[in-house]
Symmetry: C2
Subunit: 249 residues, 2 copies
Amino acid sequence: MTYCVAITMDAGLVFCSDSRTNAGVDQVSTYSKMFHFKIADERELIILSAGNLATTQAVVSQVKRDIRDEALTSLKTLPDISEAASYLGEISRLEQEKHSSVGGPNAGASFEASFIIGGQIGSDKPRLAMVYPQGNHITTSKDTPYLQIGESKYGKPILDRILNRTTSLENASRCALVSMDSTMRSNLTVGPPIELAVYPTDSFATTRFRYDDDDDYLRDLKKAWDQYLIEAFDRLPPLQWSDAQSPGE
Amino acid sequence: MTYCVAITMDAGLVFCSDSRTNAGVDQVSTYSKMFHFKIADERELIILSAGNLATTQAVVSQVKRDIRDEALTSLKTLPDISEAASYLGEISRLEQEKHSSVGGPNAGASFEASFIIGGQIGSDKPRLAMVYPQGNHITTSKDTPYLQIGESKYGKPILDRILNRTTSLENASRCALVSMDSTMRSNLTVGPPIELAVYPTDSFATTRFRYDDDDDYLRDLKKAWDQYLIEAFDRLPPLQWSDAQSPGE
């Protein structure tokens, strides 16, 4: 399993991903799911991946090959994030089809993968898109400033409560890390190292962080969050015992 | 969909359930999923239900009928929560089989239901059990003092962070309500009224609350929690920008 989240705000973009992959609980490995593409001085793109590892590796390799070989269509030439998402979706779809042809030895097997692609291209503002296994994609909206792939449910409530378009990059980064922490506690197949990338609007420079299992900052963050939550709990309005109803049924 | 959670602590038990049922998004109704059984002065039991509404209603009717008819085996006679859970599981399994017989017109259809049963019987300490659709059941442990049925993922992280055996009934109640609020925000098919039941150990008296959509207390609780979370966020240790890595691939 995987958990990746990307957030878009006026101030820029934040990306966060775990690094655990598994095929069954006894075949667990560590692979980065964050791929950073810096192209000239006017393109900064990040791809996050989830799903079948063979598919995501093949897709990312193809994307890199197209850049290296100066292909007509590549992350170097596509005019905006939406077309970059279509391009990524097409490669992903073709890669999946290759291995799951009807009637072949793998008929019925699933090699699905999802991606988030985001960044800034030229004078366009920073954008995010999520690419479905089927190759189509969606983007963020004013009301939903984030996209998730993989094990998304555990980490969603905190995003809904904290994020909006005016959130600072600092707060969005911490929110992504707390969302990741909630997911790791509840799903063993999501795990460190955690990668975080912060892209300030118009900077064309991404700052990346990598947190291992025993990272001091991550431990401090978890500990502080646990403590502040408990303090927040203690301050919540007390139950109104006068509202109690007489036992029925 | 449904979300129900039950918590066991040294101080007693807390139960919380939503009241929305749906068959598709355009067929939404309101039904209580919490059933309270007060039997003589030495038995206090609560059942929470999730899953197919026809199944859960049939099961609860049978449970009530067995009590009324003074059946040999009923919640009135069973010696402990574990046997009560087996009894409930058996009724549920038989009810499901009745309607999904192989080869019949409903072959392959699912009438699954899950239950949480908890309470105190005589001098035994208060206990909880969760009954699977297959009729078997599990109980809580020292490290996992709660059970959930239905849409459980969104509301789980807050339970993991707050609850343990020594949590007060007051805090567990608020934790259950916050967990419910997180779930309602993220899944439209979980909705009010919210029911809450609080059972203090050895009291043989359950206090029940019902919160409608526009309930003042629930609104205050949500608002306070949102505000305290944002305050807690602002206090979290700042990102260590010195940890940033040079952009790589």
